[in-house]
């Protein structure tokens, strides 16, 4: 018991408690929330789940990648440099759009929020409508993507081809294309 008393006596929280009880309460709540999200697994910013790469990754035989070409076959070269945010913005929404298009064209969150979450939480039923993408937003996506890419490439882009490529690693570390399909054409 004396051991724990000594720990508390010299602890950061005790110093904070003695200095300002409000700040002590704030930091304590922040700490509890930051730890608690790891149990509930429900991220609530700024209380994050720091679980990136905690799931197992095994090398695979084949990988799928997107290749984005525009106008006369110009390649959108997403280089491995400092432009990571731009890379995220060019691939994240596109990936989201394609995954929804490949299924039933409905935002997966619409199904979950309308048919499960709102059923459980009837009081919030009226607000879920604004928490997912609607059909008109998916329809607007291709033209937004063309405009956004035109801005980045600083030229008028008339058409975009998004290809899905199956890639295989060889033993010497080189990569070879196995197949290529056109996933999306924007004109």
């Amino acid at each position: 018991m004396k051991f724990f008393k000594n720990i508390f006596k010299n602890s950061y929280f005790r110093k904070l408690y003695l200095k300002d009880k409000f700040l002590f309460g704030f930091v304590l709540l922040f700490t509890v929330a930051a730890i608690l999200v790891n149990f509930t697994r429900l991220e609530t910013s700024p209380f994050f789940l720091w679980k990136l790469y905690s799931e197992r990754y095994y090398p695979k035989e084949e990988y799928n990648i997107y290749e984005i070409r525009f106008n006369d076959g110009d390649l959108l070269d997403l280089k491995h440099t400092w432009n990571s945010p731009q890379h995220e913005f060019l691939t994240g929404p596109l990936d989201y759009y394609l995954s929804v298009k490949a299924k039933n064209g409905m935002d997966p969150w619409q199904n979950y929020l309308e048919n499960y979450w709102a059923v459980k939480h009837q009081a919030f039923k009226s607000i879920v409508h604004g928490l997912y993408n609607h059909a008109s937003q998916f329809e607007a996506f291709p033209q937004w993507y063309r405009k956004y890419l035109s801005q980045i490439e600083k030229k008028d882009i008339k058409n975009i081809y998004v290809l899905n490529k199956k890639i295989r690693f060889e033993n010497d570390g080189t990569v070879n294309e196995i197949s290529s399909d056109t996933l999306l054409v924007i004109k």
Binding site: E43, Y53, S54, Y57, S84, E88, F89, G92, G130
Partner: protein
């Protein structure tokens, strides 16, 4: 913490954040240059729900004038907070606008990245007027820095089990860099990457090393004696993951400032004369 020390710390942090925000502006990823993207992803994060339900995207993303004003205010408050670091209103305004930017970027990129997590919390101690209380909260940020790496270690070892997967290094490497290797086969870096794939042990040991570095950050909870060493661990982690996992988390390194002691800030100040 003296006012001088507070000035130098505030300036270091805000300059660091502003550099990355400027980079994001140049890369067309701040609201004024997003051109009103139609798709978003809020996931089950209540903070994002509140952000959307308050109608913030309509004002700063879908309204072109609102988007320009937002970008302007984001940089202006940052610049004013650098010039007047003891003026809490500029610091508070800049923090709030940065938080809104992070939510905006993540929601419309349809992926909630944690790279800007540090930018959301690191200025909170400077919302407090009293320097001693500010110092105590700054110590809290130091613990938070140790926490995020420690919990990441716990996720990889005890909650998940990727640490015990020998092929984790080569597995993450291939899935993240296949794109780069396919489109840039001629570069020197690609040559090095091909060597890494042939010598899988190098990637797998590297992965174990990085996870252990995250675990070592727990030392920070018990003593400040090793902060000079711990300071380098997040840098090694993020530089390594940038090259071997294609994950750019340099913005998170803003938290690393919390591992510097006051003498180091004083020395920095003596060289830069920033608190004049």
């Amino acid at each position: 913490m003296s006012s001088g020390q507070r000035i130098i710390i505030t300036r270091c942090i805000i300059i660091y954040i502003l550099c990355f925000l400027l980079l994001r502006f140049i890369e067309y990823t701040t609201p004024s240059r997003l051109l009103s993207p139609p798709l978003f992803n809020l996931q089950l994060d209540i903070t994002y729900w509140v952000y959307a339900l308050l109608g913030i995207p309509e004002i700063i993303v879908h309204n072109p004038i609102g988007a320009v004003i937002f970008d302007f205010l984001l940089f202006l408050t940052g610049i004013f907070a650098i010039i007047f670091p003891l003026n809490r209103y500029f610091v508070i305004s800049f923090t709030l606008l940065t938080i809104i930017y992070v939510l905006t970027f993540n929601a419309f990129a349809t992926h909630h990245s944690h790279s800007m997590a540090g930018m959301m919390v690191i200025l909170l101690p400077f919302w407090v007027a009293d320097n001693e209380k500010c110092f105590l909260l700054w110590q809290g940020i130091r613990y938070y820095t140790c926490y995020i790496y420690s919990i990441s270690f716990i996720w990889k070892t005890f909650i998940g089990s990727s640490f015990f997967n020998w092929e984790q290094g080569v597995g993450t490497f291939k899935s993240n860099l296949v794109d780069y290797l396919y489109h840039n086969p001629e570069t020197l870096l690609s040559g090095f990457y091909r060597w890494c794939i042939r010598e899988e042990w190098f990637l797998n040991i590297g992965n174990i090393f990085i996870v252990l570095l995250e675990g070592f950050m727990m030392i920070g909870f018990f003593t400040k004696k090793y902060d000079k060493i711990l300071f380098w661990f997040p840098i090694i982690i993020h530089v390594t993951t940038y090259f071997f996992s294609d994950v750019l988390f340099f913005e998170l390194l803003v938290l690393d400032f919390s591992l510097l002691n006051m003498n180091q800030f004083e020395r920095m100040n003596a060289r830069l004369k920033w608190n004049l």
